[in-house]
Amino acid sequence: MRVHIVKREDCPLLKKILLIVGAVALALVLGGLVLLAMGVNPLEYYFKMFTMGMVGNKIAYKAAENYLKILVPLILTALGLSLAFKMRFWNIGGEGQFIVGAIAAAAVAFQAGPVLPTPVVLLLMCLAAMVAAGLLGLFVAALKVKFGTNETLLTLMLNYIALYFLTFLGETKADWNFFLSAESARPTFASFTSMVSFPRILLGKFGLNICVIITVLIGVLVYVYLKRTKQGYEIAVVGDSMGTARYAGMKVSAIVLRTVFLSACLIGLAAAFKVGTAGILSASITDDVGWTGIIVAWLAKLSTVGIFLVSALIGVLQYGSTAAAATFASVDSSFADMLQGVILFLVLAADFFTRFRVVIAKKEVERHG
């Protein structure tokens, strides 16, 4: 008996959905066993998790706001990554591009915040973050186009350079370092919330951050860009086959440079939104969106609409598990992390089965074959 893995020609949507739902259910059952072992009622826990602790919560609007705060940078980063991934340019540098963007946005906030009107400052923050992150992406793309370097390795390594630079800024007290709080004897990042922050539209008590609206708009733009424009078509062709693209007379280098710049720009914008909402830098400003964004983009099969959906679900997982863990004495944040890991792992495994079939070949078949 031999086991073959055969590519599926086409997996019906219903089957796909069933596989993924099944994977999540299996993960929940596994997590439930662990919960039972810890003396926690899994149903109560999961109810809390999937409702993100909003039921019976007297300030549920805050939970919704905090949930959206997690969501916006994740969606934008995943959208950015999807542009590059469509072209088969493996941008693993979301973390680094995010950090560089965040530093640029914070620099503008500190320097321009006290002198310019808030809307201008916010606009400049976004622009600075996009350009800074974009240039970092462009740098890697240029090396790839010119010298054929491996973008996976370069973007990955640049992540650490960016991260250590941010840590350096956070730990070095000096006259030039305006990122740090002047009042604190210890080096801590200064807050600029009192100077600039993104405006919110109040719907009752719920404050809808303007970043959320812009993110939805950008989602529409990216969708149109990829599906309806010449440049979007070029990305698809380059992704399918560089040779074909060249044969068709496309300037492949220019397309790669442009797309990677755009990809990193969106990640920079995610950073600007994050920094402009938090009002402060921090060593873990990215919340790992550079990594989670890769998972989101992948699970969404690089579909723009899919990215919104998957982000929303992963956001529920992230925010919900914190809310749920808080109320159960024996459940700490490690369980929340573990459960997220199990769910993602099984969903990725299910994803594998939507694309491949396992076939057990019988002996006769083997002989004939």
Partner: protein
């Protein structure tokens, strides 16, 4: 089709948020007539709530012990967001979660939570906020708390000094997370050194700085270096794990731990540890919160915005002396605690202690006026002067006293 799904989800999100707003239009006032069984305690931890040793564990044990004593059930009345890094937006989100769960008092245990807690105390005036190791507060619902751990350090210093007399080795090592940049570590080192020198004036305390609150590998390695390169016979510490004590045990020398009784970790080396009894504060704070009749009265009911107690109230102390201690150590410590309880002396004053052992086993203390000086000769307190605050709350003790050397 896909667009329709998206639209549905969006609609769903909007509906949820609107429903949330609707639900909030009639907020229950949590403080009017709160029964004990409704009272909820919230906490924000820097590490895991399931830890079994270290800083977070000490606080968690303090809160649960206090709740047990007050007849509250930690399983249902304590809500904890753990592993919250020292970042404003994460702390703010944690506070939102706790307030949403209906907490009446929220404790934050790490220094850099202070700005977020300060802002949230203003946003939620009906909830009490209480922050450890910080210096911010307001006049109504936000206080800070810490303890005079330097007094406990002084006692462990005396135990170490007596041991150094017994072994004849005047070199004492101290593995510290930070040195003068944090008043908390700095005052600990100074308190310990003054204790050592009160019994052994020839002793020197060598400090090695880790640059991190927790770094198990270097905690061990630095202790080893103090033993091998500085010939230290006793290793004290201000860091999270028991690694320095384990290193001392392996090298056959002695040590003083911190935070928990580390005799368990190094039974042949450990003398005694400076420990926190956080339940002393938590009991006072929770009891006050339940009885003060509204969050706005909390700070007044606590007697001020900064709670700062020490050995006398039992907020700090030393763990049970191990058999490794020099004979009569307990008698020395008892005499010092008695003196502290009178309130006429404290560690960072211009009065130095010396001791005479009586025939009946007790110890008599002699007080001598002598200026408190830094290790580069600057006078901090003139001879006979009153004790300076260790300034942990405001963070200005940034010098080492005589007898301390940076290794």
């Amino acid at each position: 089709m896909k667009k329709r799904i998206l639209a549905l989800v969006m609609a769903g999100v909007m509906a949820l948020s609107l429903a949330a707003c609707g639900g909030n239009s009639d907020p229950k006032s949590s403080n009017s007539g709160t029964a004990d069984s409704d009272f909820k305690v919230g906490a924000i931890y820097i590490n895991k709530k399931t830890d079994t040793a270290g800083y977070t564990y000490a606080h968690h044990k303090g809160i649960t012990t206090a709740m047990d004593e007050l007849g509250l059930d930690p399983d249902s009345q304590l809500v904890i967001v753990d592993e919250v890094p020292e970042e404003d937006d994460k702390v703010a989100a944690a506070v939102d979660t706790l307030v949403g769960e209906g907490c009446d008092i929220i404790f934050g245990i790490s220094f850099n939570y202070l700005n977020a807690m300060n802002a949230k105390a203003e946003e939620y005036p009906e909830v009490i906020f209480s922050h450890a190791t910080g210096y911010l507060s307001n006049e109504t619902n936000f206080n800070n708390y810490f303890g005079r751990i330097y007094q406990a350090r002084y006692l462990t210093g005396v135990a170490a000094g007596l041991k150094s007399l017994e072994t004849g080795n005047n070199n004492v090592g101290y593995v510290s997370a930070f040195d003068t940049e944090y008043a908390e570590t700095c005052s600990g080192i100074n308190g310990f050194a003054l204790g050592v020198q009160s019994v052994n004036p020839d002793a020197t305390v060598y400090v090695k700085e880790l640059g991190a609150w927790s770094d198990e590998q270097n905690e061990y390695a630095f202790a080893e270096e103090l033993i091998n390169s500085y010939d230290c016979g006793i290793i004290a510490q201000h860091c999270d794990s028991a690694q320095p004590q384990i290193a001392a045990e392996k090298a056959g020398v002695f040590g003083c731990g911190y935070n928990s009784d580390m005799t368990v970790d190094a039974p042949k080396a450990h003398l005694t540890a400076a420990v926190w009894n956080w339940d002393v504060y938590y009991k006072t704070a929770i009891e006050t919160a339940m009885t003060c009749g509204g969050a706005e009265n909390f700070v007044t009911a606590m007697g001020g915005p900064a709670y700062y107690e020490g050995l006398v109230k039992g907020l700090v102390g030393v763990s049970e002396l191990s058999d490794n201690c020099a004979p009569d150590t307990q008698a020395y410590l008892d005499a010092i605690v008695d003196l502290l309880a009178t309130g006429e002396w404290d560690v960072f004053s211009g009065v130095k202690l010396s001791y005479t052992k009586n025939e009946d086993g007790t110890v008599t203390i002699t007080q001598t006026d002598s200026a408190l000086k830094t290790n580069d000769g600057k006078e901090i307190v003139p001879a006979g002067g009153k004790s300076v605050e260790d300034s942990v709350i405001t963070g200005t003790m940034n010098y080492f006293v005589e007898g301390v050397k940076v290794g």
